[in-house]
């Protein structure tokens, strides 16, 4: 599975190719989409993107952790964590794509 890693630049490139916008503007739009999503999540709102998936916030209570090096108990403070739930469409597209690739190997 010699996969590449895509970054913001690759997403912007897809916008250039498929929508026909200039590269710098496409880069700004990719950034704006990500920052809008982040802003809503930071506010505590969930973000639901149909056919992609949903990002939600989960509140975690305080619990006891352990320093793995020293074995000492340390409290883990209450915190918010982000959870992503992929949509069924996303799961199906990824699973079938990967299975096809695997079969072709």
């Amino acid at each position: 599975m010699a996969g590449k890693t895509l970054t913001r630049a690759d997403l912007a490139e897809a916008v250039v190719k498929k929508v026909g916008l200039p590269r710098n503007e496409s880069q700004d739009l990719v950034e704006l989409v990500l920052s809008e999503i982040s802003l809503n999540l930071a506010r505590g709102d969930s973000v639901k993107l149909s056919s992609f998936g949903s990002f939600g916030i989960r509140q975690k209570g305080q619990r006891v952790g352990r320093n793995p090096k020293t074995g000492k108990e340390v409290p883990i403070t209450p915190r918010k964590v982000l959870v992503f739930r992929p949509s069924n469409i996303m799961k199906d597209r990824i699973n079938s794509g990967r299975m096809r690739r695997k079969a072709a190997e």
Partner: protein, 99 residues
């Protein structure tokens, strides 16, 4: 926030673009992420998070109602890991401090 609200936000920040084009732009971005994952790549968006795919081997499952064994096929499932900057922002830390 749902997708149409996200599109609306982007559209009002870019009055020179047609609403229809903003819709396409947003869809292209998310489709590109899914396509990349489907073809075996990963997607890493610094400060936001990374999308990866994990493999789950075939296993023997169980029908919880009857208890009878059912085969579960192998599958590939998408995963998201929150980026450091976003994780800090969720907890009211705007990145001014380390850790």
């Amino acid at each position: 926030m749902i997708k149409s609200e996200l599109i609306q936000k982007i559209a009002s920040a870019n009055p020179h673009l047609y609403h229809r084009d903003v819709e396409r732009i947003v869809n292209v971005i998310f489709d590109e992420i899914v396509d990349a994952l489907a073809r075996g790549d990963r997607v890493e968006l610094r400060g936001f998070g990374a999308f990866t795919v994990k493999h789950r081997a075939a296993r023997q499952g169980r029908n919880p109602r009857t208890g009878s064994p059912v085969p579960v096929e192998e599958k590939f499932v998408p995963f998201f890991k929150t980026g450091k900057e976003l994780r800090d922002r969720l907890n009211g830390d705007d990145g001014a401090t380390n850790n």
